[in-house]
């Protein structure tokens, strides 16, 4: 694909003298143990009103990696994801306890505006939701709102973003003539990814981005994720375990506790979660015995 940025999506494996054991995570392909932590949560508990939706979420997302959130429906994966760009602020009664840090800075500290967080952290929704505008205007939407008026610069950002979202060849002739809604589902989702890329985020959150797509469109998005992680940090919620196994470096497994609140059971390298997880619950879920 000519849209590749040149860099290999796989980080070389550094030689590791540390013996592989359950206590010290092994070095696996795609993970650089020296990578900086991009997102860090500590003892996060999210409530809707008085009801606890998710609790005990402590995790690190290394920079330039893909983390998958898996788990049964209602276990709070999306809820946690949407805390990372403060979209939960929009739900009346939603509160977040604990800390969520982006590059070491608490994104819930007083004085931090949600708008600022959302300019660094993009979100791709479950259902493709382009604006009822031209393809061009869809992608230019973010930069325009951030104050960019220069036509030439906008043109450049729009083209670059659509190219990076592997959509350019399919839409380059109809940028201004075709509505974003006139594209196919898979194209719409890549348009939404392009729209997010145009805002130049550092982290991209994806909330089941392929659940409304056919297998071929899904494959395209997965290829795209593999390319994007060389430049971005990606967190993806998915119900599709094969997808988690294919695209992610690390996987977090959530489930629903006795108290009807979701919690983080286990977080490890994806290969380990799917082959040799530490918890029976995880083993049962990934092998399809429950959930």
């Amino acid at each position: 694909m000519d849209t590749l940025q040149g860099a290999s999506p796989v980080t070389p494996i550094p030689p590791s003298p540390v013996p592989v054991s359950a206590l010290t995570p092994p070095t696996l392909p795609g993970i650089d143990p020296s990578a900086a932590v991009k997102l860090r949560t500590k003892d996060v508990k999210i409530r809707y009103g008085t009801r606890v939706a998710v609790r005990d979420v402590t995790l690190d997302v290394p920079e330039h990696s893909v983390m998958a959130f898996i788990g049964p429906s209602g276990c709070g994966k999306s809820t946690v994801l949407r805390c990372f760009d403060r979209m939960n602020d929009l739900i009346p009664g939603a509160t977040v306890e604990g800390s969520i840090e982006l590059d070491g800075e608490d994104m819930y500290a007083s004085g931090v505006l949600p708008v600022e967080v959302r300019r660094k952290v993009g979100l791709v929704f479950q259902r493709p939701n382009p604006f009822p505008m031209s393809i061009y205007e869809n992608v230019a939407y973010g930069p325009r709102r951030h104050g960019l008026k220069d036509k030439a610069k906008l043109d450049e950002i729009v083209e670059r973003s659509i190219r990076r979202a592997a959509l350019w060849d399919e839409v380059k002739d109809d940028l201004r003539r075709k509505s974003g809604l006139a594209l196919s589902g898979g194209q719409q989702q890549r348009l939404c990814i392009a729209r997010t890329l145009a805002t130049d985020p550092e982290v991209i959150l994806m909330d089941e981005p392929c659940s409304a797509l056919d297998p071929i469109a899904t494959l395209k998005i997965e290829e795209l994720i593999a390319q994007l992680k060389t430049e971005f940090t990606i967190v993806i919620v998915t119900h599709n375990m094969q997808q988690a196994a294919r695209v992610s470096d690390r996987t977090a497994f959530f489930t629903l506790g006795e108290d009807r609140a979701g919690y983080l059971v286990e977080l490890d390298d994806t290969l380990r979660i799917f082959t040799n997880p530490a918890f029976q619950l995880t083993e049962d879920y990934v092998s399809g015995r429950f959930g």
Binding site: V115, R118, R127, N129, F131, M133, E137, G142, R145
Partner: protein, 295 residues
């Protein structure tokens, strides 16, 4: 025949029937007035002044109708649209907003003659303005504003939540989201609301009867431009007798032997104006939506 299929045919037929009936009534009304007025209709009827005996014209009344429309809408549109945005996007559910909603419902169902009496009490007698266009416009505002407010609120609420979420997730502020993601989608609905409200201004007679006056105007000097001198047709304080009021006047007080012909022609003009207004506003709504969507 299969019973389910029969029911399907029946439903289709009756829905078609109802639709045809509605179109039929409209065609009958327009047809009646067109047929009744075509033999005597001339273009000069639209511009010349009314006379006490004979056909004359409706120039000043048409002028007043448009004047009243523009004046009322100048006040109603900003208040209605901004209020609709407030009610849809900012207002919390509490006693205050419930009171606003209740007032909207109640005012919408108050007979317009009662609103007219209210207008007379306040503007004609209370403020001592006498019969004026501005008094008429403010009276119309009383029941136009709640209507437009509600229609705008509904149009804005009908915008899918996805649209808002997408805009916010791209790092837009709330106002940017309203301005650039919500309003463009809501515009056709807002324009429809404006047209409905404007149609009421154009057609309303009862509410204006005691406020704007029903005297038949004459000797309009359009070159005399003043906002406050009641002798100027452009003045806020001139008597704002509209075309609808003239039709009312013809049917109640006029001794004119041609009054039935004049009333029929005036009604046709009124109908055509409302029709043109509706069509052009649809076109306007679409054009606006296209403009903001960059297509």
């Amino acid at each position: 025949m299969n019973r389910v299929l029969l029911a399907d045919r029946l439903a289709t037929a009756s829905l078609w029937g109802v639709a045809l009936f509605v179109v039929g009534v409209l065609v009958a009304i327009i047809g009646h007035f067109v047929l009744a007025s075509l033999p005597t209709f001339t273009l000069s009827f639209l511009v010349s002044e009314p006379v006490s005996e004979g056909i004359g014209g409706i120039g000043p009344l048409l002028f007043n109708s448009v004047y009243m429309l523009v004046l009322t809408m100048l006040i109603t549109i900003p208040l209605g649209v901004l209020g609709g945005i407030y009610m849809a996007e900012y207002a919390k559910e509490n006693r205050f907003t419930n009171a606003i909603r209740l007032s909207q419902e109640v005012i919408s169902s108050v007979p317009s003659i009662v609103v007219g009496l209210f207008g007379m009490t306040i503007f004609v007698i209370g403020l001592g303005w006498g019969f004026t266009a501005i008094g008429g416009a403010l009276t119309l505002l009383v029941f136009n504003l709640p209507l437009l407010l509600r229609l705008c609120e509904q149009a804005i609420r009908a915008v899918p939540a996805d649209e808002r979420a997408a805009s916010l997730a791209l790092g837009s502020t709330k106002w940017q989201t309203i301005r650039h993601a919500v309003l463009p989608v809501a515009i056709p609905g807002v324009v429809t609301g404006i047209v409905l409200t404007a149609g009421r201004v154009f057609g309303e007679a009862a509410a204006l009867l005691f406020v704007a006056g029903d005297s038949v105007p004459s000797n309009y000097d359009y070159t005399f431009i003043s906002l406050f001198d009641p002798r100027s047709p452009w003045s806020l304080f001139h008597k704002g007798t509209t075309l609808s009021l003239y039709i009312w006047n013809l049917n109640t007080e006029s001794m004119n032997s041609q009054k039935e012909v004049i009333a029929a022609m005036s009604s046709m003009v009124l109908l055509v104006m409302v029709l043109l207004f509706n069509l052009s506003s649809r076109w306007l709504g679409r054009a606006l939506a296209r403009r903001v969507s960059g297509l």
